[in-house]
């Protein structure tokens, strides 16, 4: 009964979305306020309906209703409650429903928080959102319906892939999807602007908060995914250049470029058509990411169901959404007039450089991900690029960018003084030189690239702090004056500082991973391994029952110089239902380094393979990502997004110069 309600709610949501995609658009063209207002109500109703549908599916999972095929295939009565709930999106159909739910959430948010938007623009934005919803609702209802029943119901379900039964992965998809789907708002704004044929600073100011919010969610989502890979896969690796990881990384790269280029539109009224293109591409890459994972064009860990029929449907969706918007772009964009001119050495110039490098980086990842596909389609020799390719192409491209991140914010708008900026950054040179020398001395004989990477991180960190100190004129004016300036600095300036500092922290983590040490031994209880000054002794291995698995739980005593540090408990879990064994690593961190223990195979004599890693600065990778996302949120809380300034500015036809990230 509840399942049918969910099913019908979804069908109703489709009809509502059809209305939402047509009526407001016609209303906007005819300047009919009533018709335009339809978009708003439709978006809210659509949200309610998809939320109902989502809840209905959750209900089926929680109550283990095995008359629903989707539940049979992905759930089991013995599964812990948390994974019953998160199992809803641990499969293809459910994750598509989550996608649509997020989409309707975004549309409802636009409907609610758009009082300062001109009605016509709002109507068009909501109409475009409606079109996307129509496409994906049709996709779910026609090819991947999670509400289908089966009779007679089987006694129990098949369960969820044990590798996916993990808290990190349970919450990774919602964040990732919120990021992916959130970019649909920027996309809708871009398409609406193309329809109107007008892009102005006010437009950029409306788009930026949405872009920022999605970017934060995506940053957190990617970080969670990488963290999951780190502690679950048992290799201590945190990024595998897997097609699915790349699929989430590409929108992140272009989305980052978009955040920066929209600053230029807002502040200087130029780079318009480029920003529009970025908005289109960011969401397009989210769609392509969905396509790659779902269609089976590329295979990967998360490729739930690969089905050519679904693939064809998504391809049609891609053609409609991306092809349609790019056609509109080709027709309308040439008419967009650029505003302010600027010299190559200027803040704008630096942001253009940032955009170029990020886009090229994204293009590299794109090529690397799809290269096998291109060659295959041409019937040519088949090559695989894999891991080595990305390390050799992507990483070098990011080096100039990281250097430029330190300098860019020091340049003035229109025409910057590069020499002056470089002189003012002297503290950063000293810091970099110190870190490089210390790293070189401490790790003498170690990998030089890591020293270089640490230097880059130090450069970035010091340069960002220098820029902040400049801004509050620290040590140039009396301290109370500096403090006063710091208090009155716009939140967006703080946001930028945090985000860039976060980047520096992550870079340090990437670089230092080259210093990781590892040891692998076959241990009998009582045996020990030493690594990086720690002594790890295997005390005993016990059989421990879990809710839907049995585990071999190793008790490992960690000591350092004879002092007891901790007991660590890596496990190997056997899931009888799926006949699968997964490893559960034990990680002990002091925020400067991780001690990482994985339990391997056993043999008949009771020896256990134990792998130990010591990974300096690795936690910084995710800490950096969280700081970056935090920076985004701080910037998002800037009051100028909320006050009516934007609406007033648009009535006057031009925007007030409001500080973007940095003045």
């Amino acid at each position: 009964m509840i399942t049918e309600l969910g099913h019908f709610a979804l069908i109703l949501a489709l009809f509502v979305a059809v209305i939402q995609s047509a009526v407001p658009l016609v209303g906007a063209a005819r300047r009919h306020l009533g018709w335009m207002a339809v978009g708003r109500s439709c978006a809210l109703i659509g949200f309610g309906l998809t939320a109902l549908s989502m809840l209905a599916l959750m209900h089926a999972y929680v109550t283990s209703d095995f008359t629903v095929i989707n539940v049979v295939q992905n759930s089991h009565t013995d599964k812990p409650l948390l994974y019953k709930i998160t199992g809803v999106w641990g499969n293809h159909e459910g994750s598509m429903l989550l996608w649509v739910f997020m989409l309707s959430l975004c549309a409802a948010a636009v409907a609610l928080f758009s009082d300062n938007l001109p009605p016509a623009l709002r109507a068009r934005v909501l109409a475009v959102q409606g079109m996307i919803a129509v496409g994906f609702l049709l996709f779910i209802l026609l090819t991947s319906n999670p509400f289908l029943r089966t009779f007679p119901p089987p006694p129990n379900g098949n369960g969820l892939n044990p590798v996916l039964q993990d808290p990190g992965l349970a919450f990774h998809p919602p964040f990732l999807y919120l990021g992916y789907v959130g970019f649909s708002v920027a996309f809708s704004f871009a398409v609406a602007a193309l329809i109107e044929g007008r892009v102005d600073p006010a437009w950029a100011r409306w788009v930026r908060p949405w872009t920022l919010a999605s970017w934060c969610a995506l940053t957190v989502g990617i970080a969670m995914g990488s963290w999951w890979a780190y502690y679950t896969l048992g290799w201590g690796g945190w990024w595998f250049w897997d097609p699915v990881e790349n699929a989430s990384f590409m929108p992140w790269l272009v989305g980052t470029a978009l955040i920066h280029s929209s600053i230029v539109v807002e502040k200087r009224d130029t780079l318009k058509s480029w920003t529009i293109l970025l908005a289109i591409i960011t969401f397009s890459l989210s769609l392509v990411g969905t396509f790659l994972v779902r269609s089976g064009v590329l295979t990967s860990v998360h490729a739930f169901a690969t089905d050519p029929e679904r693939g064809s449907f998504i391809l049609l969706l891609l053609i409609a959404a991306i092809g349609g918007s790019l056609t509109l772009y080709a027709i309308r964009a040439p008419a967009l007039k650029g505003g302010g001119l600027f010299a190559p050495i200027s803040r704008e110039g630096a942001l253009v450089l940032n955009n170029l490098l990020l886009s090229c980086g994204c293009a590299t990842v794109f090529l690397g991900t799809l290269y096998p596909l291109f060659l295959d389609a041409m019937g040519g020799p088949k090559l695989s690029v894999g891991f080595p390719f990305f390390n050799r192409t992507f990483a070098p491209m990011m080096v100039p960018m990281l250097i430029a991140v330190g300098i860019g914010p020091m340049l003035a708008w229109k025409r910057g003084d590069l020499l002056g900026a470089l002189q003012r950054l002297w503290v950063a040179y000293v810091a970099t030189a110190l870190v490089v020398l210390i790293a070189f001395y401490v790790t003498y004989g170690g990998p030089m690239l890591a020293v270089f990477g640490l230097g880059l991180s130090a450069w970035l960190f010091a340069a960002v702090l220098t820029e902040f100190a400049e801004r509050i004129r620290l040590f140039r004016v009396p301290f109370p004056e500096s403090a006063r300036r710091a208090i009155h600095l716009p939140r967006s300036a703080y946001g930028m500082t945090f985000a860039h500092l976060g980047l520096a922290v992550s870079v340090a983590g990437f670089a230092a991973s080259a210093y990781a040490q590892e040891a692998i031994e076959i241990l009998r209880p009582g045996g020990s391994i030493s690594i990086a000054g720690y002594q790890l002794t295997l005390e005993h291995v016990d059989h421990v029952p879990g809710p839907n698995y049995v585990a071999d739980d190793a008790a490992i005593r960690v000591t350092r110089g004879g002092d007891f540090i901790a007991m660590m408990h890596p496990q190997r879990r056997f899931f009888p239902l799926q006949q699968q064994t997964t490893g559960e690593t034990a990680i002990r961190t002091n925020l400067l380094a991780d001690l990482y223990v994985a339990l391997g195979d056993t043999n008949t004599e009771g020896d256990w393979t134990v792998r130990v890693y010591w990974k300096p600065l690795v936690p910084w990778i995710w800490m950096g990502a969280i700081i970056m996302a935090f920076g985004g949120l701080v910037s998002l809380s800037d009051r100028r997004w909320r006050v009516g300034a934007a609406a007033r500015a648009s009535r006057r036809g031009s925007a007030q110069p409001v500080p973007a990230a940095g003045e």
């Binding site: 990967s300 088949k382 195979d601």
Partner: protein, 178 residues
């Protein structure tokens, strides 16, 4: 001229759609990519074995149908596939041979020591030469080769229980009888 520049994204997208469409064309199943190599003799190889084991050569394997699995320690999907391979090796006594593709031998050894070794023998393809000859598109990839050394089937991506039961095992059985 300037207008043409604005058309560029659309043109690139159309090209991309062409690629996507070809990869979805009927019969172009992701698990079972038609390969130019199907029904052709497998490319000869003679590579060193992993660790202290013997080298792996095509000629040495001929005589019985067998399965070659390309894997690497850096490959995430291989991790997903691994339990299935273990099961196949233990329960079905699958004549499975591994080729460690573009992987450091130490890493491959560690992978097999930790998660179990489903392979009868493992060869080291450090620079991806053998993979290139086979037309490997990514790891994991699995090839079924008959006793004459002719490639009969190719599976791209991690094997699933379903493809194994419906496709790989029946095929091997049939090859073993004829």
């Amino acid at each position: 001229m300037r207008r043409a520049l604005y058309l560029l994204p659309l043109v690139l997208f159309v090209v991309l759609v062409g690629y996507f469409a070809t990869s979805l064309r009927p019969g172009h199943d992701s698990q079972e990519l038609p390969s130019a190599m199907i029904a052709k003799p497998a490319p000869a190889f003679d590579i060193v074995g992993l660790g202290d084991s013997r080298g792996l050569t095509l000629d040495g394997l001929k005589g019985h149908p067998f399965v070659i699995n390309f894997f690497a320690s850096w490959c995430v999907p291989c991790r997903i596939e691994h339990p299935l391979l273990m099961r196949l090796a233990e329960q079905n006594h699958l004549p499975l041979y591994g080729i460690a593709y573009k992987d450091k031998p130490d890493d491959s050894t560690r992978l097999l020591a930790t998660f179990g070794d489903p392979y009868r023998q493992v060869g080291v393809d450090r620079d991806g030469r053998v993979g290139l000859d086979f037309g490997v598109y990514g790891v994991p990839e699995t090839y079924v080769i008959d006793s004459a050394g002719v490639i009969r089937r190719r599976f791209v991506g991690p094997l699933t229980a379903e493809t194994v039961d419906k496709d790989l095992l029946p095929l091997l059985k049939q090859l073993g009888q004829s």
